[in-house]
Subunit: 559 residues, 2 copies
């Protein structure tokens, strides 16, 4: 058995680049990309990738070199998902919502050799490049800048001399890319948005990207000929790997520049969209769309959602509109979704609200993960499957990142005892499904008891006049930490701190009742809709514990 | 990028064993196996595998040791697909249709350490063991024999002392298997049935088995909760990897001992079967079933067929019965199916017979193959995508076998210039779909021209009184080789050699017309329905070229 050696025929490094080579043959005349009046077939898209890849090599780009790009969901960004790794380089898609300072920090940290900039982002990019130049004091080699002009209506290049379509034109369509020698080689670099700490550069391997793509297509049951709407930014974990996945299934990419309700509804009805991904925050955009922006959803549109836990009620409203939602949980370090809330046919018999509660859970591991567990972080023992005992969600498998770029300390912190620690706290239900209770850092430790802020928020949200709620820890002289609730009221409602605390006394264990309720107009959030609890914790430090006006509440609250 | 090292958290060897560990958690209470009145849940099946694996280790089984098994599609054989690799050993499922001499040869060649025998196969196994003992002259260490009694109705052990359920009972349910260090390690050993040469021992790696399983679930779009009927023997490429695949999807295995029409129809209607695999030869069994054996197919039963090219007419008849058929092409060396005839929605508009002709093609590569091509074997240049130019089908990728056990010569012959040579001759159509024209050894080279025997057979089958046809090469003094046709006539029909040759003149290029037509009662076949052309070629050598009675035909035939 041992004498049978690996050969070129039976051991080929795994890489998602194979998906587009295959698509160019198998789905050659099928539409690969639609973007306004531009559309390509898979043969054309592959040819454009070959050309771009060739041009990148001509720019003296080598293995492990970083190519940064600042662009919305346009064909160029899609093509770069294949062309950059074909050139042996590493794709770094930058979050377009970042300010110039952050962009400069990423360009500096990643040592980007080439920087592609969409014409609309020239202003931020220009400032970022200036900051980079000044900050480096001549020490930093500036990246070569390539502007991506509007493919539908070119406006002329204003940043530097190179333009994207020119690189495509100058490329060699016969060039099929560098030979990948090792599937452990880096394919992409994605900076975390970091709700709890500084941005970190997460590196994916070709192997990890390939395997994640395979299992997400499968976990979501995305069939062949899918029409995929790019409502999720490609810079989020490479579009949760569906950049590569749509090529694998020979689907059609519908690219849109702006994620507005009108644009989404229009694309769905014009192109018969079958699949789209988005954070729950997009649900509100769709639900609050004005009448003239809406279209009736007549086709079967499957939505994969994640990025923040969706409320069961929100899922229900979206399904009422005609969307079919699958809930997933993941993080940048896991190459996007790591758990999918796989539907069980027996749930079809349950009442609607129960179905939605089941669906709001984070779910079960994708197929290419070797193992997922919830563990007591101190003892590293598995929690019982009781739906109650909380522990840290830990992952293991080849779709986990290679590590954080140039950050041995954080990499070592993330990988402990053979597991990747997600920093999320959850439970395992008796049916094996995992539910997130909190971010590890958001758990409130009050008098030795762990309090899940997510649990308190869920109870607060059932209050008739509360629209949004976020609970964080505030310092407490006796208990160490105590819960502090920030609430946004409905426009039509009004209430008092005393009334809300009385409500909490009714529905929560006494030790869980917040020691302070603060009314706010809006909650600070990331662009994916995650509440920035770090900021709220800072505010909470400045607040005073509720000054009990009535004795009854007082007595009960200091259990 | 290069400093980020592999760790236990982010680099886990790929193996299908992870599928059952996951199933035991995620699908714990779902039915894993149904076999008569026996049924298990995934938690139980996993526990049984852990126990068996532990017992195997207790029998002093080590890494790379071979465990042979002679059994039909029973739960034990299914469980061994996980328990044997969990013990670090290599599973060798032997074709139950082989005679004692062949079984002995496999036991000898594989150096099996343990030999599991289903109670029904004790007679063959006993003879095989005696042959092994005699043949080895005391040189060969005899395998430890374990009998598998009937789990539904135990009959008592008659072969040796060990029994399967006893090993299960004696095992440790907490044992979770040996840690796999290298995904290149062997997981299975399957002997080819060999229509053209001696049986060879094909070795699969854990990596290859994992990847094949992933892409076949995908290529066939087998969703979660599939109910899979074991109509395909598990000893054929480990059930085309669906032994592992059903666990991956948390489906239910319906095991049957005999592949009779009655058993298949009954299982489909009793258990709402959604998926089954079989060679086209099973279609005839289902189509020719007697009225009392049949049931109406009301559920959506998906069939994956392969092993021999199915006639378009046969596909149509099966779909008329209510089956939905997907056609695949593969071979033992490719871990089962390597091409799948992926359906394209635009074909829905075509006339039925054209749909069936498209479906009868072998199709496009599965996702985990790195590359598939059709090449001129001499120059290794790719053939044009014209649907006409023939070449050898070649494959490359990590789902290709490790090689042939203890056969460097054949391994080297199979892997050439970075490709695995299938020995099958085909064409690529303009849409990228591959169609097989012949086995490489079955191509007839007449006066320098390649003649596809499959093409001639297809024409002969259109003749109103011909039921079956097989064309092979016969020696020809002038052309080197010439086609010789063996035909089976319909019971109601009669014709003459002269008439058939006149028919051929009408529908074939002149150089293709057979030089001899031989009428036979039946064609020699393998159990999967492949015609044994090697045998026919031997017969053809003894036949005389058609002695032209009329001048017109004579003239035309010697073009």
């Amino acid at each position: 058995m041992n004498k049978l050696a690996k050969s070129l025929a039976n051991y080929v490094p795994l890489t998602p680049v194979t998906f587009i080579k295959r698509a160019s043959v198998v789905y050659s005349n099928r539409t690969s990309i639609i973007y306004g009046r531009t559309s390509f077939t898979w043969r054309q898209t592959y040819e454009r990738c070959c050309r771009l890849s060739y041009s990148l090599r001509s720019l003296n780009l080598y293995r492990n070199d970083v190519v940064s790009v600042l662009a919305p969901n346009i064909p160029a960004l899609y093509e770069m998902h294949f062309a950059v790794p074909m050139a042996g380089a590493v794709l770094n898609a930058i979050n377009t919502r970042l300010d110039a300072k952050n962009i400069a920090a990423i360009l500096r940290h990643s040592e980007a050799k080439v920087f592609f900039v969409d014409y609309e982002y020239v202003p931020q990019a220009s400032v970022a490049l200036r900051l980079l130049m000044v900050g480096s004091k001549g020490q930093h080699r500036m990246p070569l800048v390539v502007e991506i002009d509007d493919i539908n209506k070119p406006k002329g290049v204003s940043l530097g001399k190179l333009e994207y379509e020119q690189l495509i034109n100058d490329g060699n369509p016969e060039y099929s890319g560098e030979k990948l020698e090792d599937e452990w080689d880096a394919i992409a670099l994605n900076y975390t948005s970091g709700t709890t700490s500084e941005p970190k550069g997460v590196v994916y391997s070709h192997r990890g990207a390939f395997l994640s793509t395979m299992s997400l297509i499968q976990g979501w049951e995305m069939g062949t000929e899918a029409v995929f709407l790019w409502s999720l930014p490609m810079f989020h974990c490479n579009g949760w790997t569906f950049t590569w996945g749509v090529a694998a299934r020979g689907g059609t990419n519908v690219c849109i520049r702006n994620t507005t309700a009108e644009e989404i509804y229009k694309s769905i009805s014009t192109h018969n969209v079958t699949h789209m991904c988005c954070a729950p925050v997009v649900f509100n955009i769709l639900l609050e769309a004005k009448a003239h922006e809406r279209r009736r959803i007549i086709s079967n549109v499957n939505i994969l959602t994640g990025g923040a836990p969706p409320a069961a009620a929100l899922l229900e409203k979206m399904e009422d509109l005609g969307f079919h939602i699958t809930h997933a949980y993941g993080l940048t370090e896991a190459t996007g979704p790591a758990l999918v809330c796989e539907w069980q046919s027996k749930w079809n018999q349950l009442p609607r609200d129960q179905q939605m509660r089941l669906k709001a859970r984070q779910g079960v591991s994708i197929l290419t993960l070797a193992d997922v567990d919830v563990k007591n972080k101190k003892t590293m023992e598995s929690v019982p499957h009781d739906g109650k005992t909380m522990g840290e969600i830990v992952l293991r498998g080849s779709s986990i990142m290679k590590g954080y770029l140039k950050d041995e300390k954080e990499t070592a912190k993330a990988f402990q005892k053979g597991w990747f620690l997600t920093g999320d706290v959850g439970v395992i239900h008796p049916d094996g499904y995992i539910e997130i209770k909190d971010r590890s850092k958001d758990v409130i430790v009050s008098g030795g008891e762990n309090i899940s802020s997510v649990e308190l928020e869920a109870i607060l949200l059932k209050h008739p006049v509360i629209l949004e709620a976020a609970v964080v820890a505030m310092p407490h002289p006796r208990w160490g930490e105590s819960p502090c609730a920030f609430v946004v009221l409905r426009k039509t409602g009004s209430t008092t701190e005393t009334e809300i605390l009385a409500y909490c006394m009714k529905y929560m264990s006494k030790f869980m009742v917040p020691k302070k309720v603060e009314f706010v107009e809006v909650l600070p959030k990331t662009e994916t809709g995650k509440v920035l609890k770090k900021e709220l914790r800072e505010v909470a430090k400045t607040l005073k514990i509720y000054n009990k006006p009535r004795k009854t509440i007082d007595l009960e609250m200091n259990v």
